[in-house]
């Protein structure tokens, strides 16, 4: 049995850390970072206790506790938690990978004068993310959903004096806000539909019970609206545009928020509320295709990118697309499995990239890096492990989880299977390209890059170990104990391995010699500029924001000043003036005239009074 106090401790430890830093330690780098690390480690420890408890007693158990937050006759909104293996798994990812990244940040941010603020924001993020994972009702979920968006905004724009960072923060927040518009509509609609005799409810368990009695057409609309939230948070097409820009944030932020946890929240949401989507064929088809197209599109974008963090960001998009596709193909297990292993190796890759950026004094262009494997051996080797895991090379973790997704697609939808396979081949190609250019070969003579301090390399090693063994520690069984143990689909495994090796090989041939100009530019012809312009999504949104939206706003302002103020109110004023001009003739200045009016008036009043009496 899980002790509720343990859960609440895991829940609130990072918030306590955030509050303590904000109130007392805003001037101390040392104390602030230690407080934040203590907070996340407490959560991690509690999560491990929860995991062992739940595993010992009854693996499929759901444990729930609710405290009323808003309560009056017609409305109950609780604050509580709902624990099941899925939530515990996600908690382990969030707090475990989170702990590694918190520790790493103490080294990475050591030179930044605003480090206390960084750790306050990071702790706020950890609290919000835990809130999403544990929430047992939709309003609580939405609250924390917004709070991770907020902390993401604050952390992307952490270096707010840099216009590009500030812009990226605003973009991320706006795109997510727009998506959450749909999400909130969906939540309210679901709440309105959830009444099956016992009143409306936001509780996940109540809604699950109500699902069979809800009209499937209305439920489809609600489900797709909920999916809007997923599209925003997990950066699916067409709202993927914010994630690459989000790389303006400090690299540990990119690792934690924009690779391992927050962007995966959408996938987690789909898995946790899968009972809503399960009976809805139309909605699932939409979800699967959105995921598949995102996976392929993002993989192509990564091919033409030269910024190490942006390559990884597009890769994250692509992998998220695969996970969403898996959910759309009714596979919460493969999706969550890949989410977990992806958190390991993508966090590893980002932290590795951070280590490189740290050593090269904020250089992010891969063409300005060379031979890093030799100058930074630990970073180099762990980065290689991450790369291979991401490409799905046997027997690293990515191989197993990706195979699950591909096998699922193979069985259900051939078109999506080939889309996903193509995306995987491209993944191997662009990751190979990145690795051969930046890490392979001889370092240049005047290169002063050196290995990062232990506080940064230790988390790299920790995550590298997880990336290697992630396929053998029984994640699928822990997630869904009732399922039979997944078996490897040999045909799919062989095809995907061949494609991955092919991708790495082709990139080796093209880039291991470090050509002066990217040979892709010639080979792809005009398509290369399409890729460079990211399929013109930014241009279209830019047009919408600057022209259309601003145009409507200016028209409204014009309506306001011209019609309401000038004609409307101005008209009233003119009318008043005109009346005054007519009436002023009564002001003759002759006392006799006033006396006459006075007497007449008195007579009239008396007349009326007499009548009424």
């Amino acid at each position: 049995m899980v002790n509720p106090n343990i859960v609440w401790t895991a829940y609130f430890a990072p918030l306590v850390a955030c509050v303590i830093i904000t109130l007392f330690f805003l001037r101390s780098k040392n104390l602030s970072s230690l407080t934040a690390i203590a907070g996340i480690l407490t959560s991690f420890a509690c999560t491990i206790i929860m995991a062992t408890d739940i595993f010992k007693t009854h693996p499929a158990l759901e444990i729930q506790q609710s405290l009323p937050w808003i309560q009056f006759d017609a409305l109950t909104i609780n604050f509580g938690f709902l624990i099941n293996p899925l939530a515990i798994m996600m908690m382990l990812v969030v707090t475990g990978v989170g702990s590694a990244i918190f520790i790493y940040s103490r080294g990475y941010m050591a030179d930044d004068p605003s480090m206390p603020r960084f750790f306050a924001f990071l702790s706020l993020f950890a609290f919000s993310m835990i809130g999403i994972v544990l929430a047992n009702n939709f309003i609580q979920l939405f609250i924390f959903w917004e709070l991770v968006g907020l902390s993401s905004y604050l952390l992307i724009g952490f270096w707010y004096h840099k216009p590009s960072a500030a812009d990226a923060g605003v973009k991320a927040f706006m795109v997510n806000r727009f998506a959450d518009f749909g999400f909130l509509c969906g939540i309210i609609m679901l709440w309105a539909l959830s009444d099956i005799g016992q009143g409306r409810s936001f509780q996940l368990t109540d809604i699950a019970a109500a699902i069979p009695q809800i009209d499937p057409h209305l439920l489809t609309i609600a489900a797709l609206l909920l999916f809007c939230g997923v599209v925003g948070k997990s950066a699916q097409i067409p709202l993927h545009v914010w994630l690459a820009d989000a790389m303006e944030g400090p690299t540990p932020v990119s690792a934690l928020i924009h690779a391992a946890t927050m962007v995966a929240a959408g996938v987690y949401l789909l898995a946790r509320t899968f009972f809503i989507f399960e009976p809805l064929t139309t909605a699932l088809t939409v979800i699967a295709y959105v995921g598949g197209i995102t996976a392929l599109m993002a993989a192509t974008l990564a091919v033409a990118e030269n910024d190490i963090k942006r390559i990884l960001a597009y890769s994250t998009l692509s992998q998220l697309g695969l996970m969403v596709m898996a959910l759309g193909l009714s596979g919460p297990m493969p999706g969550m499995y890949h989410l977990t292993t992806h958190a390991f190796f993508k966090a590893l890759l980002f932290l590795g990239a951070g280590s490189v950026i740290y050593a090269l004094h904020h250089e992010q262009n891969i063409w300005k890096m060379r031979g890093l494997l030799k100058t930074m051996p630990i970073t180099g080797i762990t980065f290689l492990i991450g790369t291979l895991a991401l490409c799905g090379i046997f027997p690293l973790s990515g191989f197993w989880s990706k195979d699950e997704i591909l096998a699922l697609a193979f069985e259900h939808n051939t078109l999506l299977y080939w889309i996903a396979s193509l995306a995987s081949a491209l993944t191997a190609f662009y990751m190979g390209r990145l690795f051969w250019i930046a890490f392979w070969g001889e370092p240049s003579k005047n290169d002063h890059a050196h290995e990062s301090p232990t506080i940064m390399t230790f988390p790299l090693i920790f995550l590298a170990v997880l990336s290697i063994i992630g396929g053998f520690i029984g994640i699928p069984h822990f997630l869904f104990p009732e399922n039979e143990h997944p078996h490897l689909n040999m045909r799919v495994a062989i095809i995907s391995s061949v494609l991955a090796i092919l991708g790495l090989f082709v990139s080796f041939v093209m880039y291991s010699k470090r050509p002066a100009v990217d040979p892709l530019e010639k080979k792809l012809g005009p398509f290369y500029s399409v890729l460079k312009n990211k399929y013109y999504f930014d241009a279209i949104y830019g047009w919408y924001v600057d022209r259309l939206q601003q145009g409507i706003a200016i028209a409204s302002a014009w309506f306001e000043t011209l019609l309401i103020d000038r004609f409307g109110v101005g008209g009233l004023i003119s009318a008043a003036n005109a009346t005054g001009k007519i009436l002023k003739h009564l002001q003759t200045g002759m006392v006799q005239f006033y006396a006459l009016v006075f007497v007449l008036g008195t007579v009239v009043v008396y007349f009326i009074l007499l009548k009424t009496l």
Partner: protein
């Protein structure tokens, strides 16, 4: 009992009299006395709020002294859950506003006398259970506001003072017609709210007559609440007013409109409410979306806040039109939440503009770097306004949206879109005015360094967060008074 509601009127009067007798040169002493007076009255509001027994409900702490007997006008004070919350709001806001007024250096004596009149008048309006006295205090509060904008305002202050006052007086006159009709229509020929209420429970006003009176009151007080298209006094009024007036007016005085609509229109004429409020619901959405869009084009921080405030009043109007307890609770909650948020935001802009002498976001920029404390507070206020959870506004808005969904699905969706619009203009203002590189000319600005300078901001922010995380703090009070109103209106459908 020693503590009674008349103290809310007497204490400011005593403070005023004391200031009156002090020579104008001793401005520091005058300020101290004014701060002390407001502080004591604010403590009193906290006391009454916590002493109000929400389990019992109804009007409490009643004082009833007949005044003009032939017309059945009496000095009748009392508070229910809603007004106890509103006096708490006024207590908090007026305390912050008086603290912030340290920058006033001219005609200090007159300033604080005016300030105390405005505060006392507003308290009086919220405490009165006699419609005559409500109206009287409502007008008492309007006079010093007019003078304060005209004398201590900035820019086009005379125009702003005239426009604001003319609009509000016109609205009040419209409402007055409605209230006088009410006086006769009940057949009681009394202004006493309690008597009217108990009488109407059994003898409702005929629906045809209600349908004439209702719009007069709703539109009349709606003007105070910046009902579209009668909102254009607010932007220029708030922009040119001295900081404390913007805080008081946007924070509290404006809410008198919503309070009056609940008290006199919806509570007393439920049948007409069913006819008229759906129309108001449409205007409410125009408020939300249209004013939000106009805010997008503004460059002056105070204009942005003012249009934002107009836009947020749309949620109040929409909630008023729902006729269910969720929506009405949301409305009352939003009156509080928006009040605190607007107070905070105007105070911060005032602090910045005192130094920069400009409020144009294009001329500002990078302010967080030089003013980390004030800048952070402004960002938090802006996020609160954009409905980010953790702040009181989110709780209120979500309740309004949930309440409105069944009856007005399209309006609700547009209202949710309004939250997106709010986020756009708020983030834009933050981005341009507070982030990015710091221009050279602002390198000499100073942050709020001392504890007294920080106090009002920290205090307001703390209230916003506490109320945002712990809704039952207010909801018990609110619920005890909204429930009978809703039961009454639902039974009349």
């Amino acid at each position: 009992m020693i503590l009674n509601l008349s103290l809310f009127l007497l204490l400011p009067l005593v403070g005023m009299a004391t200031i009156f007798m002090i020579p104008a040169e001793k401005s520091a002493l005058i300020r101290k006395i004014a701060c002390l007076t407001v502080f004591v009255v604010s403590l009193l509001s906290v006391w009454f709020f916590s002493a109000y027994n929400s389990a019992v409900g109804g009007y409490q702490f009643i004082q009833n002294i007949p005044w003009v007997v032939p017309f059945n006008i009496s000095y009748h004070l009392g508070i229910d859950g809603i007004s106890s919350m509103l006096i708490l709001l006024l207590g908090i806001t007026s305390f912050a506003a008086v603290l912030i007024s340290g920058g006033i250096k001219e005609r200090v004596k007159e300033y604080y006398i005016m300030f105390l009149i405005a505060v006392a008048g507003t308290y009086g309006a919220f405490l009165s259970l006699d419609i005559f006295f409500f109206y009287f205090f409502h007008e008492i509060a309007a006079i010093p506001i007019f003078l304060m904008i005209g004398i201590w305002g900035t820019g086009r202050k005379e125009y702003a003072a005239m426009k604001l006052t003319l609009y509000l007086v016109a609205g009040a006159a419209l409402a007055l017609i409605g209230l006088i009709c009410l006086y006769f229509a009940t057949g009681l020929q009394t202004f006493d709210l309690v008597q009217i209420q108990s009488h109407l429970a059994n003898h409702p006003i005929p629906t045809e007559i209600q349908n004439w009176i209702f719009p007069l009151i709703v539109v009349g007080f709606g003007i105070t609440l910046t009902l579209w298209p009668f909102h254009t006094w607010a932007p220029v009024g708030y922009a040119e007013a001295p900081t404390a007036v913007s805080m008081l007016h946007a924070g509290v005085l404006k809410k008198m409109g919503a309070y009056a609509i609940i008290r006199f229109a919806i509570q007393l004429m439920p049948e007409a409410a069913h006819t008229w409020m759906p129309i108001i619901a449409v205007l409410a959405v125009v408020n939300i979306v249209f004013c939000g869009l106009v805010a997008l084009t503004q460059r002056d921080l105070k204009y942005i806040l003012a249009y934002s405030s107009c836009s947020h009043m749309g949620y109040i109007l929409l909630g008023l039109a729902c006729f269910n307890i969720i929506g009405l609770n949301g409305v009352v909650y939003l009156m509080f939440a928006h009040g605190i948020m607007a107070t905070l935001a105007f105070a911060l802009v005032g602090f910045i503009a005192d130094q920069t002498k400009t409020r144009n976001i294009d001329e500002l920029g990078g302010l967080v770097k030089i003013m980390p404390f004030v800048g952070t507070c402004f960002i938090m206020a802006a996020l609160a306004s954009a409905g980010v959870p953790g702040f009181a506004n989110f709780v209120a808005e979500i309740m309004v949206l949930l309440g409105a969904w069944d009856q007005y699905p399209i309006q609700t969706v547009l209202a949710i879109l309004g939250i997106v619009i709010t986020a756009i203009y708020m983030l834009k203002a933050i981005r341009i005015g507070f982030q990015g590189p710091l221009p050279k000319r602002w390198e000499k600005l100073t942050d709020a360094e001392t504890l007294t300078a920080k106090l009002p901001f920290v205090f307001l922010l703390a209230v916003l967060i506490v109320v945002g995380c712990w809704p039952s703090l207010l909801l018990n009070h609110i619920g005890s008074s909204t429930k009978p109103i809703i039961e009454n209106i639902v039974s009349k459908n």
